[in-house]
Symmetry: C2
């Protein structure tokens, strides 16, 4: 099959990226949670004060995969890190090493930017992904649990001090 190449996302990619986000959400059985628009992505990725960054993998000039990340911060290290929010490859382009190549490119960006670490999350039932992640030497942070406050619970807590 065809070779792939990786490049930084540029304005005009927001349609392809939103398509990838929706396909990923469908795979994670979370499609109903996707309310992002192309305008949202354009603002977050490409406008002044951008908060996120994206890589695109292409085959014959066609986007077939993406990785979207932002910078977090380690207080212990006193340095920023890379957090990979999403990585997705269209099903017909899997098995070509595209995920590994995207992860490696992000690791290279992390090293170049003197980041303390490179992190991402996996759903516990997504064993194929977990096998890739442990295979490249990533450590599962098993002893930590993320807590989330959103929607009505967030608004109520902000307003009344409880949800």
């Amino acid at each position: 099959m065809d070779a792939f190449s990786i490049r930084e996302a540029v304005p005009g990619d927001e349609g392809a990226i939103l398509g990838f986000i929706r396909e990923l959400a469908e795979y994670e059985k979370l499609l109903d949670d996707v309310v992002a628009t192309e305008a949202d992505l354009n603002q977050a990725l490409f406008e002044e004060g951008a908060v996120a960054y994206s890589l695109i993998a292409e085959v014959d000039g066609l986007p077939v995969a993406f990785a979207l990340y932002f910078f977090n911060f380690s207080t212990f290290a006193g340095r920023k890190g890379i957090y990979l929010e999403d990585v997705y490859v269209k099903p017909e382009y899997r098995g070509k090493g595209i995920v590994s190549a995207l992860l490696r490119k992000l690791a290279q960006i992390a090293v170049a930017e003197e980041c303390a670490r490179f992190e991402w999350s996996a759903l516990d039932w997504n064993q194929p992904a977990i096998d890739v992640y442990t295979g490249i030497g990533a450590k599962p942070m098993d002893e930590w649990t993320v807590f989330r406050l959103d929607g009505e619970a967030l608004r109520k807590f902000a307003e009344f001090g409880k949800s």
Copy 2:
């Protein structure tokens, strides 16, 4: 006991913040991992291109607690969120509601900045903290595990494609 007040961190607070980070690391049995310096914190919090933000709680003008956060990004929401990296109250000032007040202030910032969500992590054995978090309506994201690549493993993967 004395009342407390909450304010944004300003240049000059980096010494107090580093002290809090070290005390927190000691509580988490991770003090050896702290290599951050005051200069690192000054750059991350107060210089051009700051990547993190901090709130300070004071009693009688003395810093007794802090919360340090950054903005992450939800691809599904298409909006940024707040991620609380650290929150810590000096032992002698606990039980006064300072953690809840810091969390509430962050929830208010999240709402004001139109964030999709407000998140943070807890160690699974830190039941007192978990009780506070579930008490304010936060959901544990039990089905997700964070993976981390850092140190020599990160450098090797960036260079050779494996660690």
